[in-house]
């Protein structure tokens, strides 16, 4: 993991002092709310529906155990004992009080964390593949690139007041586990002959105008990345609309300009730059990459008798292992997904006791590393097969053993009207009701991979546009209703879901999903996932059963 250098430390503590002073001046009236609001937002502090909300940055979703314990401490000391993992791999606290926030930032700084750029019209926290450095399909670890971008974009003076917020995601595998085609800029590490470089996509996004990102540059050499991104940002900063916030994202600029013309503008800007003034040296890239060197793995056989016999003796462990583990690049190791989707709780919520447990497990069994995922779950990236049964037993003792990763109850869900000031309807109760309806684990496994994504408003924080089944909560005359999209795909084959038609009440929605699942199961061919069947037969057969009662 990257450790702060002297510069990082100085910047973070300077920001703590600065914001402490700003909070003090707000409380004594030296600053008005109008003056203070942009300052608090620059530090991730929102005023939500019922209270303040603080969003903590988790750079590319990577944490060590000390950092996760500190988040547990913050949850207990300044909040209500839990935190919420967001769809951009960050953690939110729903109930902090303003006078406590400076001390929270100080506590975060003590473990090399902060809330920079988790709000506002700047380059937001860079996200990445939660399996980075562990995935068997990886071309190259994306974390050094994500870290380079973190350093480049942090308090970048030119890009602190962009037309609108700006989100970047990086992957190092052909399988997209970071939704890069739905980001303002998506970066895929690729190999061209023997050279490693970047496939750069631009203009993706969800929200009220969902658009899939397009290729801006098919292969960008490693040493050109920062200057090329700088040129791209400058074009956006110059031509992005500032007169209408709903048309201010880069996706609108690219759509209105056309990708060819936009690329020409970037190339023209790039030609004016002196790359060496912006880019970093090979030595600096290697210095950063060294922090992400593979851990000191043991030389282990690919099969563990301890693991295999534990599966034979404990069906619960076997079900969990079959569903929540992913092949690791290192023989004798596994990637462990920890589901934060138990039926009774909001997707992505984790209490402080559970945080401390996962921190301990990371320290003891995963080289002190854990990850947050955009699916609002956690990952222990490097676990010996021999240790899996012990980990499962400890997770089970704290209610973290749900074996539903990638299944119908592994729902992405925004906070919705229960917490969010922008929401138009609730989303958490809908996710819980769907989970309850499909609570039978055997049935979930029979259905197979299924991504349901729920947003409580058109801003689409719950990624409903790219859910196999996407649900959008709206409200009319005091009644919540839910629109359904079908066939969305968040993978490297990104596809926006098709709008089905009029919305449903909460109960109608549950019955409709039941019928969609039945239609899929009676129609699928051998090995087909829901999304495969949908792509094969299209909207009509599903729409027919969805609206059977209309």
């Amino acid at each position: 993991m990257y450790r702060y250098d002297e510069f990082d430390t100085r910047v973070v503590y300077a920001r703590v002092r600065q914001f402490s002073d700003q909070v003090a001046r707000r409380l004594d009236g030296s600053l008005t709310e109008e003056q203070f609001r942009p300052l608090r937002l620059m530090n991730g502090l929102y005023l939500q529906l019922h209270a303040y909300m603080l969003r903590v940055a988790i750079p590319y979703g990577t944490l060590n155990s000390a950092q996760f314990r500190q988040l547990a401490h913050i949850a207990d000391t300044y909040d209500k004992g839990y935190g919420h993992i967001t769809t951009r791999q960050n953690m939110q606290f729903n109930w902090p009080e303003l006078p406590d926030v400076p001390q929270i930032l100080r506590d975060l700084a003590d473990v090399e964390m902060h809330c920079f750029q988790t709000s506002g019209n700047c380059i937001r926290n860079v996200t990445s593949d939660p399996y980075a450095g562990a995935a068997a399909d990886e071309i190259k670890d994306p974390r050094p690139t994500a870290e380079l971008l973190r350093q480049w974009s942090t308090i970048h003076p030119e890009f602190t007041f962009l037309p609108r917020k700006f989100k970047i995601a990086v992957v190092g595998s052909p399988n997209d586990r970071a939704v890069i085609r739905s980001h303002d800029i998506g970066i895929e590490i690729v190999k061209q002959e023997d050279a490693i470089g970047y496939h750069i996509l631009v203009g993706g996004g969800l929200g009220r105008t969902p658009i899939i990102g397009q290729t801006l540059r098919a292969f960008c050499p490693t040493d050109e990345l920062l200057p090329y991104l700088e040129a791209t940002m400058r074009v956006y900063n110059r031509y992005g609309r500032r007169d209408n916030k709903y048309k201010a994202r880069i996706k609108i600029l690219v759509q209105e300009t056309g990708i060819e013309e936009f690329r020409a503008q970037v190339d023209a800007e790039y030609a004016k730059l002196v790359p060496s003034e912006i880019g970093v040296s090979n030595a600096e890239r290697e210095r950063i990459a060294a922090y992400f060197a593979p851990p000191d793995y043991e030389d282990l056989p690919p099969v563990s008798t301890v693991f295999e016999s534990a599966k034979e003796s404990d069906p619960g462990f076997k079900a969990w292992a079959d569903n929540n583990l992913v092949l690791h690049r290192q023989s004798g190791y596994a990637i462990v997904n920890i589901s934060l989707k138990p039926q009774q709780r909001a997707p992505g919520d984790i209490d402080s006791t559970q945080m401390r447990l996962v921190a301990d497990l990371a320290a003891r069994f995963s080289f002190d590393e854990l990850r947050t995922t955009h699916q609002q779950n956690l990952v222990l990236p490097h676990v010996r097969l021999d240790d899996l049964a012990a980990i499962y037993a400890e997770l089970k003792a704290k209610g973290l053993h749900e074996n539903n990763i990638g299944l119908i109850s592994d729902i992405i869900c925004c906070p919705g009207m229960d917490f969010c000031a922008l929401a138009t309807a609730r989303s958490i109760p809908v996710s819980q009701a769907i989970h309850e309806r499909f609570s039978d684990p055997a049935r979930q496994r029979a259905i197979g991979e299924m991504q349901i994504k729920i947003s409580g408003c058109i801003n689409a924080c719950g990624h409903h546009h790219i859910g196999h089944i996407g649900i959008l909560g709206l409200e009319k005359a005091g009644v919540e209703f839910y629109q359904v999209k079908l066939g969305g795909d968040s993978s490297e084959e990104t596809r926006l879901g098709d709008i089905t038609g009029p919305g449903f009440s909460h109960d109608e929605l549950l019955d409709g999903i039941e019928r969609l699942v039945e239609r899929y199961m009676e129609t699928r061919t051998e090995g087909e996932r829901f999304i495969d069947t949908y792509k094969r037969i299209g909207l009509a057969p599903f729409k027919e059963v969805l609206y059977v009662d209309f």
Binding site: L27, D28, Y82, R345, D418, A421
Partner: protein, 108 residues
């Protein structure tokens, strides 16, 4: 602060958030602020509303509250008209804080 426009017709209440805690509050009949909507002053008297606004402005200036605005009230139920405001009154229908220390997954 609400981004939705209220009609400003019929009974009204005045709402805001506490500056320090951030919690939703409503102006009471004795011109204090309560986190319990049951205590809220509801009126159609335009003179009284002007006074409420003046008191609200005073407390904004005194750095006690932020995001001051009037909300429409249903005459029959006494609840806010807008769905969003009903939620501010009720609080979240779900909060993980209510479940802490309870096992969160039962299935093996």
């Amino acid at each position: 602060m609400s981004t939705l426009k209220h009609k400003g017709k019929g009974p009204q209440s005045l709402t805001a958030n506490l500056l320090r805690g951030g919690y939703s509050v409503w102006l009471t009949e004795d011109f204090g602020w309560s986190q319990d909507f049951a205590d809220a002053l509801k009126t159609e008297d335009t003179d009284l509303m002007e006074r409420m606004q003046a008191i609200g402005n005073r407390d904004v200036d005194a750095n006690e509250i932020v995001g001051l605005y009037f909300i429409d009230i249903e005459p029959d139920s006494g609840l806010p008209v807008r769905y969003r405001e009903k939620f501010r009154v009720r609080g979240p229908s779900y909060d993980t804080a209510d479940l802490i220390d309870q096992p969160s997954a039962e299935s093996a």
